[in-house]
């Protein structure tokens, strides 16, 4: 049963990550390749707070979200000045810089060895969570809150303006919307949610290293979003379900690990090609990325 609970916890983390990517990519049409960097910033900063301070989880989560969100301004600054492909390349650059720092700043990040013995989350600064079952409950609650937040944001006037930016940024400007500010907010919230997923992951796994937050991970999150569908809440949830469940199903086929890993990549790649060809908005998506 612990195995199933572990899968559900990872699924919850990926639902948060894919939803966070949907805010910028699916709603504001800003194709970012650095979601894993924000996930990593959340994980490392969260580890710092969990290790150094005896704070309740709500406070740590808030601090991690604000700090990770603040890092997003580096990317949103680029989004105002760079368009389309140039912006995508700039976000990729941010992702690579972040990974290089994690990998080489050994005194702080532990370098390629990462950080061991990340403390568990203390709910009220006292009771430390341990065990899969407790993390299952916590991750379910946090994911439910994130899904609720995303759904409400998407159906609010704020979400409508992001959709307008996606549809026609010039028109949105001509209607008096400060599109640069709205994009910055989208990035901030997106990074904050990814950061939250990061701190949950770090404390649950009790070990983090740079390899969990590299460009491949950003592409993985993006793939989940494109397969599940962009622009609404259902699509990212389905996308997360797809990318988390597929490798687990392959375990039961009885293939050797080396073959299963390659087969997983082929399944993701093929799914992406098929979805892009037959349903470019994703299986449950609402809008098409321009």
């Amino acid at each position: 049963m612990e195995y199933v609970f572990h899968i559900i916890i990872m699924l919850n983390i990926y639902i948060m990550l894919v939803l966070s990517a949907n805010l910028t990519i699916g709603m504001a049409n800003l194709l970012t390749m650095c979601q894993a960097a924000f996930y990593g910033i959340g994980a490392y900063i969260g580890t710092f707070f969990l290790t150094q301070f005896n704070l309740p989880f709500v406070v740590i989560a808030f601090l991690v979200m604000v700090i990770t969100g603040t890092f997003s301004f580096l990317v949103s600054f680029a989004s105002v000045r760079l368009k389309d492909d140039y912006f995508v390349i700039a976000t990729m650059g941010f992702q690579l810089i972040f990974f290089t720092i994690l990998y080489n700043w050994t005194d702080v990040t532990g370098g390629p060895h990462g950080l061991l013995d990340v403390p568990g989350i203390k709910l009220f600064g006292v009771y430390e969570l341990s065990g899969v079952y407790e993390y299952l409950i916590l991750s379910l609650i946090i994911t439910a809150i994130v899904v609720w937040l995303f759904h409400n944001l998407a159906s609010s006037p704020f979400g409508r303006v992001l959709n307008a930016i996606r549809a026609d940024e010039t028109m949105a400007l001509a209607m008096g919307r400060d599109t640069a500010m709205f994009k910055s907010w989208a990035f901030f919230l997106s990074a904050a949610i990814a950061g939250l997923a990061g701190v949950v992951y770090a404390s649950y796994n009790s070990y983090i290293n740079p390899n969990s937050f590299k460009l491949d991970e950003s592409i993985f999150i993006l793939s989940a979003l494109f397969i599940g569908g962009i622009g609404n809440t259902k699509g990212p949830i389905l996308g997360a379900l797809f990318v988390v469940i597929i490798p687990e199903l392959l375990r039961f086929v009885g293939l050797p690990n080396t073959i299963a890993a390659n087969l997983r990549q082929i399944i993701y790649g093929l799914s992406l090609v098929l979805v892009m060809y037959y349903r470019p908005q994703g299986i449950l998506g609402k809008t098409i990325l321009k």
């Binding site: 944001l153 609010s156 307008a164 549809a167 400007l173 400060d178």
Partner: protein
């Protein structure tokens, strides 16, 4: 005088590094509460002038005053918030958004558009949304009659409407509030004769019932004669003639150089 343009110059450099001065000192006073038509041949800089007024083109020199305030350094969204609305040349409704969403976006009421207030004070923005919905229905009733088909299509994706319908509905969007000067770039282009009549009615009501000032670019001279109080003729980078519409359009030089008569 709602808008004053003084000595507006703009130049462009082509791929061969040759500089071409498109506007060579445009001077134009747009009178409050009137419909002014800006006419001139293709490529004379009419749309560029609209881009300058609405803040989308910044590489120009000259002075631009809106209601006496200098708007030269204002960004496009600020200019819109000041009360200058725009219908783009090929501008249509935003596809992927419903007709109702397009109408709501056109309103200057931005309640609930801040991410945290949209989550914390849903009651406040839901009230404002209800007002916008009621205003949308009133506008559609006014121009398309009671129980018109658009009332049943408010939740349809705007991309499903025909080009002509989108043009005319885009005009309706401009009546959602906050505007005092409207820049309409070829409102009748691609619109069928029946819709041209509705376009005429909407533009007249913009002036007569809403008290708005309209500056429009138009190539349909018959339409210009019917709706415009004042006409400005742009030729060779300057306003070559301005005055009552019939007087300008009947001017020998204008007929000769623009209309080819």
């Amino acid at each position: 005088m709602i808008l004053r343009l003084k000595d507006i110059h703009i130049s462009f450099t082509n791929a061969q590094n040759e500089t071409f001065e498109l506007l060579r000192g445009v001077n134009l006073d747009v009178e409050t509460g009137k419909i002014t038509a800006l006419v001139g041949g293709n490529g004379t800089g009419k749309t560029t002038l609209f881009n300058i007024i609405s803040g989308f083109e910044k590489n120009y020199t000259g002075i631009m005053l809106f209601e006496g305030k200098d708007i030269c350094n204002a960004s496009a969204h600020r200019i819109s918030l000041m009360g200058i609305g725009r219908l783009f040349q090929n501008g249509q409704l935003m596809g992927g958004l419903t007709l109702m969403e397009n109408m709501k976006l056109a309103s200057n009421d931005s309640t609930g558009e801040k991410p945290f207030s949209s989550l914390i004070f849903p009651r406040k923005w839901k009230q404002s949304e209800a007002q916008k919905e009621s205003q949308t229905r009133k506008i559609l009733n006014r121009f398309f009659g009671k129980d018109n088909k658009y009332l049943d299509m408010l939740d349809e994706d705007a991309a499903t409407f025909s080009y002509g319908e989108q043009r005319i509905l885009s005009l309706c969007c401009l009546l959602m509030g906050g505007n005092r000067l409207l820049l309409l770039d070829e409102p009748t282009s691609g619109v069928n004769p029946l819709f041209i009549e509705t376009t005429e009615q909407i533009i007249r009501e913009m002036k007569e019932k809403e008290g708005l000032t309209v500056l429009l670019i138009e190539h349909n001279m018959h339409f210009v004669r019917k709706v415009a109080d004042v006409c400005a003729y742009l030729d060779e980078g300057v306003i070559a003639k301005v005055g009552p519409t019939d007087e300008v359009l009947d001017d020998k030089n204008v007929r000769n150089s623009y209309l080819g008569l």
